[in-house]
């Protein structure tokens, strides 16, 4: 892989099997604080829905930012979750962006010393899994290298949260084989299975993963079979 940033490298070094989702989210947040020019990080899930929750926050300020967004039902992180696009605000005091969430911006400036917020969606196609929120006390944008690292890290984190590593232990902690993770067949198959089972795309992917795991196959091969209509998921396929 070319040009990996320090955060992305740190994420790829995490061994998935040893930790649960909260611990994984905390490792991702800490990697961001260590590797990027930011003071704190948090990951929230289901940010746009009713069952939203903060999975990890590196400190009390990061937690406050999450709480404020949930309180006001607006903010950079909610916008990132809703649109699927990164929301980057280098200076909360001098930015037109804050007009879209004025209550959140005012509350942050009043109750904390935070000046910059960067919200990166954990996105898989149409599916939003949550948002990685970063903040800094000093104003200023992330430089190009850091932003690329942060976006790549959010991309990696999204796939980790989805558990795309389905290769049942063929040696090594190979989280993300890019060539595999971004194969069109996987996305197409997830869409097909979601209709077969009448479930969300994310759940369809989980079912494909489970199938791959049980049958000791690669996810991409299962996806190819689905697209070629050699494999169809039904409600009772597991029996």
């Amino acid at each position: 892989m070319a040009d990996l940033g320090v955060v992305t490298k740190a994420l790829l070094a995490i061994a998935r099997d040893t930790i649960d989702d909260r611990a994984l989210a905390m490792r991702i947040c800490r990697a961001c604080v260590d590797g990027l020019d930011v003071d704190g990080a948090a990951i929230s899930l289901l940010t746009a829905g009713a069952a939203r929750q903060t999975l990890a926050a590196t400190d009390a300020v990061a937690e406050l930012l999450e709480d404020l967004q949930f309180t006001f039902n607006e903010g950079a992180c909610m916008e990132a979750a809703r649109t699927g696009n990164p929301v980057l605000v280098g200076d909360l005091r001098h930015s037109g962006e804050v007009e879209r969430w004025p209550m959140f911006a005012a509350a942050v400036l009043e109750r904390s010393a935070v000046r910059a917020v960067f919200a990166l969606p954990l996105q898989w196609g149409a599916v939003n899994l949550g948002v990685l929120d970063l903040y800094r006390l000093q104003p200023g944008a992330l430089d190009d290298g850091q932003l690329r690292d942060a976006i790549a890290a959010a991309d990696a984190a999204a796939l980790m949260m989805l558990g795309l590593r389905t290769d049942p232990d063929r040696g090594g902690v190979d989280w993300l084989d890019d060539a595999v993770a971004h194969r069109a067949e996987i996305h197409q198959a997830a869409g097909m299975v979601s209709v077969q089972l009448d479930v969300t795309t994310a759940e369809a992917l989980a079912r494909m993963r489970a199938h791959a795991f049980v049958h000791d196959r690669l996810l991409v091969d299962v996806a190819r079979d689905v697209v070629a209509r050699r494999l169809m998921f039904t409600e009772d396929w597991e029996q």
């Binding site: 892989m1 070319a2 040009d3 990996l4 940033g5 992305t8 699927g84 696009n85 990164p86 980057l88 996105q123 898989w124 196609g125 149409a126 599916v127 944008a141 992330l142 190009d144 932003l147 690329r148 690292d149 976006i151 790549a152 991309d155 890019d178 060539a179 971004h182 194969r183 069109a184 067949e185 996305h187 197409q188 198959a189 997830a190 869409g191 097909m192 299975v193 979601s194 209709v195 077969q196 969300t200 795309t201 697209v227 169809m232 039904t234």
Partner: protein, 261 residues
């Protein structure tokens, strides 16, 4: 005037061709209005490549935040073309073009087997393509991706076609990065990420529609595109609603007869 490789597209008179070219650029400019859909733009653009240039297929790859190449558009949604694009994450004209930010012209693929020992045999086994051109999506001396043109006969594109291909590649760059952002000198990674993710949504929607209507994913894409255009919907937005089950699929396509027991 056209050179004479004998490709059908070249039989047209030069007037007719001029007209086609200007119509293409007018259409593309019309697409670039406020709040346009990048996937729709790129989809039209690769269509024009095949229509205006002696190319059998065209596709666009973009470098993601890790500068790994990923396919975002193809004139032919058949898996083989998309796969040829994706294969070049590891080696191929697109990768070389992306890394050097200069055009890579392969007039005769069979002579290039030493240069790309995996890519060339893959093309030869799966397709009848004999030539490949990769043109950079350029920005400030760097490349953000590449436009790939596949030809059925071993020949280099004439200079005029090459210039037209590069102009189309430049339109793609503007469309992806948004002109305003380029003028402001903003960071680009986020726009790239948005374009790449829109592509994933399209694939998910293709799958859902293919399953619902009992057709191939290519056909499903055709129907999705037709529906978006005839109803003046943004292709990405329609795809998102389809993938998230917020859209009645029967509106787009009658359901397939149930084959399940």
């Amino acid at each position: 005037m056209r050179s004479s490789e004998g490709v059908p597209a070249m039989d047209r008179s030069s007037n007719e061709r001029e007209e086609l070219i200007s119509r293409a650029f007018v259409t593309l400019a019309d697409t670039l209005v406020d709040d346009y859909d990048v996937i729709d733009l790129l989809d039209r653009l690769v269509g024009f490549c095949v229509e205006l240039l002696p190319a059998e297929a065209a596709g666009i790859v973009l470098g993601d935040a890790r500068r790994e190449l990923r396919a975002v558009a193809a004139s032919d949604e058949a898996a083989q073309v998309v796969e040829l694009l994706q294969l070049q994450a590891d080696e191929g004209p697109c990768l070389d073009c992306f890394q050097t930010a200069t055009p890579v012209i392969v007039a005769d693929l069979s002579a290039a087997i030493d240069r790309w020992p995996m890519f060339v045999p893959a093309v030869e086994q799966r397709t009848h393509f004999r030539s490949v051109h990769a043109l950079p999506l350029r920005l400030r001396g760097r490349a953000i991706g590449a436009l790939n043109l596949f030809g059925a006969i071993p020949a280099a594109l004439p200079q005029l076609d090459l210039a037209l291909g590069q102009a189309l590649a430049d339109v793609a760059t503007i469309g992806i990065l948004q002109e305003r952002a380029i003028r402001r000198g903003d960071v680009l990674s986020e726009q790239l990420q948005v374009a790449l993710n829109s592509r994933v949504v399209i694939e998910q929607a293709k799958g859902a529609l293919a399953q619902h209507g009992g057709l191939s994913t290519e056909k499903a894409f055709e129907r999705l595109r037709q529906y978006a255009r005839s109803h003046e919907l943004r292709l990405s937005e329609l795809a998102r609603r389809v993938a998230e089950k917020e859209f009645d699929l029967a509106e787009i396509l009658p359901p397939a007869r149930q084959t399940r027991p």
